[in-house]
Structure formats: structure tokens, C-alpha cells
């Protein structure tokens, strides 16, 4: 275990919007190959943590490294699924085109997408069961389908670490199962998957690693060791009773 590589390492990270800290002195190490949930109440800073790891937000203190190097050197290893509400779904484009955007990172500036990128995008859409909708305007997709398009786009990024901000938000049970199966497959293939997750009931079933966050880091580690009432109470402030399947 000790010799295992760290996918993400965060030291003394503090992040503030307008000088009000929303993440306070976070230390966090995520080993390679885990499927990790980040849990915490609304406004706990979960999205902010992911955005900071990905360099979208600059921290006021602390460092983040991906496989031992700063993010800017490791871009191609990382895929990102933003919170669904963060984009304008009325944007004039098709589902396939959005998935193709996942390939832009490896392609680099100015170069255009070609057959190769299209093939990658179509394969990713097939994996999430969205192939039939490839030419559909994104405004005409249901919430669950939009989420699948985002997931396909992340798959098209073909990364080693996947960050997902609430991929289960507003999807039905079938889609949720489809998504979690894809995430489990990614883990099987040796990838690291980090997911902001709200449904505490399903944490033990879906994930093997968990981080409790509420402005400060409360705890991080294997689900079987640390997913307990004590940490839940510390994170959510109220006495949480969750049936943990042992």
C-alpha cells in the first residue's frame, strides 16, 4: 500500500472567493486506482476543490500535484465532467459535437478535428448508450441524456484521472446504474475516478474511497474504514444515521 503511487496530492490548500476562505488548509492524498466520493453539504467547497485541483481557480496558498507534477504539466492525464448546470444547453450544437470537444485537449490549439477524433467520440457515445442521439441538438436532450453526453465527453478525453461533479444529479435509476458501471470499469482499467456525490446511501455500494469535506477536510480513506456515523456527524453537523452495509 505504501509504495502505491499517488494520483493526486494536495498540501496546505486554502482557497478564497473575495477573501472569504471556502476551503481551509486542506491536505489530501488520493492513491492511484481508487473510485472516490467527495461528500459534504451544499456550499462545503466540493466543486471548488475540484476546480482548484484542475487549475480553474487559483488557490491563495498550498500546492496541488497530479502524479507528482503540477497540473499544467499533466493536463492530458485528466478528464473533467463539470456540474451539469454550469453550461448553457441552448448553445447551438449537437451531442456529437459536444463529445468531440473532449478530444480538443490532445489535439492542441488550431488543429482541426478529423476522422480519428470523430471515431473516438462515436465510441464514447456508444459506451454511454447515446449513439442514437448523436445528431440531436443538445437543447433537446433530457437531463439524464445531457449527463451522459458529459460522461461520453470525459471518456473521449481518454485520461488517467477523471473528475466528476455530481454526475448523478437529476438522472433516473437506470442511468445512474449505467453511469456507475462505466465508472467501475474505468477503475478496473486502472484509472482513478473522483466524484462529487450527494446520495450518502449509495456511497458504500458505489465507491471504495471517500473524502469528507466541509470547508476543512474531515476525513479521507477507504470507505470500509471511515464511512461511519462519527465522520458523517462531523461533516453534516447533525446526527446522521446511515445504514452502512458491511
Amino acid at each position: 500500500m505504501d509504495t502505491q503511487k499517488l494520483a493526486v496530492q494536495i498540501d496546505d490548500l486554502t482557497v478564497a472567493y473575495n477573501y472569504k476562505p471556502v476551503l481551509w488548509d486542506i491536505d489530501l492524498s488520493v492513491p492511484e486506482g481508487v473510485l472516490m466520493a467527495i461528500v459534504g453539504p451544499n456550499g462545503a467547497g466540493k466543486s471548488t476543490l475540484i476546480k482548484t485541483i484542475l487549475g480553474i481557480i487559483k488557490p491563495i496558498a498550498g500546492t496541488v500535484s497530479i502524479y507528482g507534477k503540477p497540473y499544467s504539466k499533466q493536463r492530458k492525464l485528466v478528464a473533467y465532467v463539470p456540474q451539469k448546470g454550469s453550461v448553457d444547453w441552448d448553445f447551438p450544437t449537437t451531442a456529437l459535437d459536444v463529445v468531440m470537444m473532449g478530444t480538443y485537449g490532445k489535439l492542441g490549439w488550431i488543429k482541426r478535428t478529423g476522422q480519428k477524433e470523430k471515431k473516438i467520440a462515436l465510441e464514447s457515445m456508444e459506451k454511454v448508450g447515446m449513439l442514437t442521439y448523436k445528431n440531436r441538438q443538445i437543447s433537446q436532450l433530457s437531463g439524464g441524456q445531457q449527463q451522459r453526453v458529459f460522461l461520453a465527453r470525459a471518456l473521449a478525453q481518454d485520461a488517467s484521472i477523471y473528475f466528476m461533479d455530481e454526475p448523478f444529479q437529476g438522472v433516473d435509476a437506470t442511468t445512474e446504474i449505467a453511469i456507475i458501471n462505466i465508472l467501475k470499469e474505468l477503475r478496473k482499467a486502472g484509472k482513478t475516478v473522483i466524484v462529487v456525490h450527494h446520495d450518502l446511501q449509495t456511497v458504500p455500494e458505489y465507491f471504495d474511497w471517500v473524502t469528507f469535506l466541509n470547508v476543512k477536510k474531515i476525513a479521507t480513506g477507504p470507505v470500509k474504514d471511515i464511512f461511519n456515523d462519527d465522520n458523517l456527524t462531523k461533516t453534516y453537523g447533525i446526527n446522521y444515521k446511515v445504514a452502512v452495509n458491511k
Binding site: 448553445f91 447551438p92 450544437t93 470537444m101 480538443y104 485537449g105 490549439w109
Partner: protein, 386 residues
């Protein structure tokens, strides 16, 4: 057509194209207001540039003034980042300040500067052909044609080179920065191009028409298509069409050319807003009415499906059972009959085979709420479309 007439139309068309392209991205980024701010706040830049160069068409003046445009954007964003006011308030704070600095500069130096505020705001396309580019003794045509031509050329080149980057940063800035395509670079790139375009065009058409040429064609195209490339083509076409027809309207009415072009842009937008096939007001209202009827239709079919007994299916009873107004009941019944979903015998309504199949399919959709189930139905049914 005389040659100044052709030149005026050519200038107007080129300005329209140069404005429409950045306009598409401003509209998609919901930044229409920013173009208005830029168009006013470049005034001090133009005045200072004019002191330095003494030539309204000098490239240096254009760059200086465009810089004022970008500074406006930076200031707006800075004020907004303090979190004390919203973006529109920040815009409202910045550009009047810069604009009035420009006005004061002009007033103070009115004697040395042949420049006035009206000319900056309204422009005068009719005079554009008089300012010629002379190389030695050769006449190379109106200066503003060359200025706007170069700006258009640069804009198109940048669009072709950075189309993919513009698209992804506009749609999803978070993802772009993860991909290493800096949204900040694209943002300031777009702001710079917009500023340069506004400055280059103001002399010919005036700052107000520039804003109209940036926003109206893109807003019109947005109502008509859901494809970014088509949106760009449509915007450019609307811009050019408005420029040319506005010119002829002005000619005919003996009115201001800029004013006529702006009016044409407004009329085209209004017509599209009302009549656009999908997003237009009339089609939206029509669709809502259709959907109401079709929801009633399904309710009606389900009722028939559930009740074997003839009394429940008697025409006179349907009204009270399903609780409709008489008019609605008639419309729905007609619709069902026209589509061979029901047949009426001795005033008793029953489902046809087609009606039965259709009802079962709808039922399956309603229960499972699965979108795949309605894919094949979408073709023959209005309700599920859009």
C-alpha cells in the same frame, strides 16, 4: 449606380460582415451589453489617438482606441469581481465615465480637433467615399474600405484558425481550461477583435449602428438555427442584407443611411421573433395549443381504453366524464377520428386497432418515462416533439 453609391454599399456590407462575426460570439456569451459599453468608451481613445496621429483612419489610432475598449472590459470585470455589484451595473458604471472623459476632451480642444460627438455616435456613411486613399497620385478608393477590409480579413482569418477554441470556450469555459485552451486568452482575443471592429467602423457608420450590426444579426440567427456554423453564415447574410436594403431605403426616403440600416435590422429581428419556425412567438403559442389538445387526446384515448361499457363511451357522456368544455371535446374527437384512432357507431365511440396500439404505447411512455420509448412516436405525434 454611380461609383460613390457602389462604394457606400460595399463599405456598409463589409462593416456588416466584420461586425456580425464577433457579434455571434458576444450573443452566445450573453455579452451583448459589453459591445455597447465598448462602443461608447472608446471615445477618449479615439480623441487621444487623433491628437497623436491627426488621422481618423490611422492604424495607430485604431489600436489606441481599441485598447480603451479592452480596458473597459478589464475595469468592468474588476468591479464585478469585488462582488459588490452585478455585471450590468459594473458596465453602467464604467462606460459613462470613459465616454464623458472623451466628450470633455473634445470640448476642451474643439478648436484644434475636427471631431464632434455626433459624428462619433452616428457616423455618416454618405461621406465615407470622400476620404480617399491616395498612393502618389493614384486613387486607391475610400480609406474606410481599406480599413474595414483589413479588419474583416483579420477577423475571418482568426475565426478560421480559432473556430474550435472559440466554440469550446464559449460553451464550457471550465472544460476548456482543463483542456489547456485558455478561456481568458480567447475572451480577451474576442474583446480585442470587437474593439478593433468598433473603432474601425465608427468613422463610417457611427458607434450606435456598430452595436446594432453586432447584436441584431446574431440575435436573429440564433432564433433560426441550432448549428453554430449556420448561425455565423446567417448572421453575416442578415448583416449584409440589412446594410444594402437599408442603403436603398435611405436613398428612397432621403433619410440617414445609418438610421435606415438600424431600422432594417430591427424589422428583420422583429419579424423573425414573431415568425421563426421553431423559436418564434407564434409557433411557440401554436405548439402550446397543440400540446394542450394532444394531452386531452391521450386522456380521452386512455378513458376509452379503460372502459368497456357502452354508456361510458357514448358521445353525450364523454363530455361530463372527461370534464371538458364542449368545444374542446369536439376538437379532440375530430382529431382522433381524423387520425383513425377511434370510430363512432351509433354515437358510441370505440378505439380502432391503431388507436389501441397508440394508446398502449403512450401508456408505456407515461409509466416508464423512458425517452427511448417515444423515439419512434415522435414522427407521428406533435406532443413529444420539442
Amino acid at each position: 449606380m454611380s461609383s460613390p453609391q457602389i462604394e457606400i454599399q460595399l463599405i456598409a456590407a463589409i462593416v456588416a460582415m466584420a461586425c456580425a462575426i464577433p457579434g455571434v460570439f458576444l450573443v452566445l456569451r450573453k455579452m451583448a451589453l459589453i459591445s455597447d459599453a465598448i462602443s461608447h468608451s472608446i471615445l477618449p481613445g479615439i480623441v487621444i489617438g487623433f491628437f497623436v496621429t491627426q488621422d481618423l483612419n490611422s492604424p495607430l489610432l485604431i489600436l489606441l482606441a481599441a485598447l480603451t475598449g479592452v480596458i473597459t472590459v478589464v475595469m468592468v470585470e474588476f468591479i464585478q469581481k469585488t462582488g459588490l455589484v452585478k455585471e450590468d451595473t459594473a458596465i453602467g458604471l464604467v462606460f459613462p465615465v470613459l465616454f464623458s472623459i472623451g466628450v470633455i476632451l473634445i470640448a476642451k480642444n474643439a478648436n484644434d480637433v475636427h471631431l464632434d460627438v455626433d459624428a462619433v455616435l452616428l457616423g455618416e456613411l454618405a461621406f465615407a467615399p470622400f476620404d480617399r486613399l491616395l498612393v502618389g497620385v493614384a486613387d486607391w478608393g475610400p480609406k474606410s474600405l481599406w480599413v474595414m477590409g483589413s479588419i474583416l480579413f483579420i477577423t475571418i482569418s482568426l475565426l478560421i484558425l480559432f473556430y474550435k477554441e472559440l466554440k469550446v470556450t464559449t460553451f464550457d469555459a471550465g472544460l476548456s481550461s482543463v483542456l489547456g485552451i485558455s478561456p481568458l486568452v480567447m475572451h480577451y482575443g474576442l474583446m480585442s477583435v470587437s474593439s478593433v471592429t468598433v473603432v474601425g467602423a465608427f468613422d463610417a457608420v457611427g458607434a450606435i449602428l456598430v452595436v446594432a450590426l453586432m447584436i441584431a444579426p446574431a440575435a436573429t440567427a440564433y432564433l433560426l438555427t441550432e448549428d453554430l456554423k449556420k448561425m455565423i453564415w446567417l448572421s453575416v447574410s442578415f448583416g449584409v442584407f440589412s446594410a444594402i436594403s437599408g442603403y436603398w431605403a435611405a436613398n428612397f426616403l432621403d433619410a440617414s443611411i445609418s438610421g435606415s440600416i438600424a431600422t432594417t435590422l430591427g424589422v428583420i429581428f422583429l419579424a423573425t421573433y414573431l415568425f421563426a419556425p421553431k423559436k418564434g412567438l407564434i409557433s411557440v403559442l401554436y405548439r402550446q395549443k397543440q400540446q394542450r389538445i394532444e394531452v386531452s387526446l391521450i386522456t380521452f384515448l386512455l378513458h376509452l381504453n379503460r372502459h368497456e361499457e357502452e354508456s361510458e363511451r357514448h358521445i353525450n357522456h364523454l363530455q361530463e366524464h372527461i370534464n371538458w368544455q364542449a368545444v374542446r371535446a369536439r376538437t379532440v374527437l375530430d382529431l382522433a377520428e381524423k387520425n383513425n384512432l377511434v370510430e363512432i357507431e351509433n354515437n358510441v365511440v370505440s378505439l380502432t386497432e391503431k388507436g389501441l396500439a397508440f394508446t398502449e404505447k403512450s401508456l408505456e411512455y407515461i409509466i416508464s418515462n423512458k425517452d427511448e420509448k417515444i423515439e419512434p412516436m415522435k414522427e407521428d405525434f406533435f406532443l413529444f416533439r420539442g
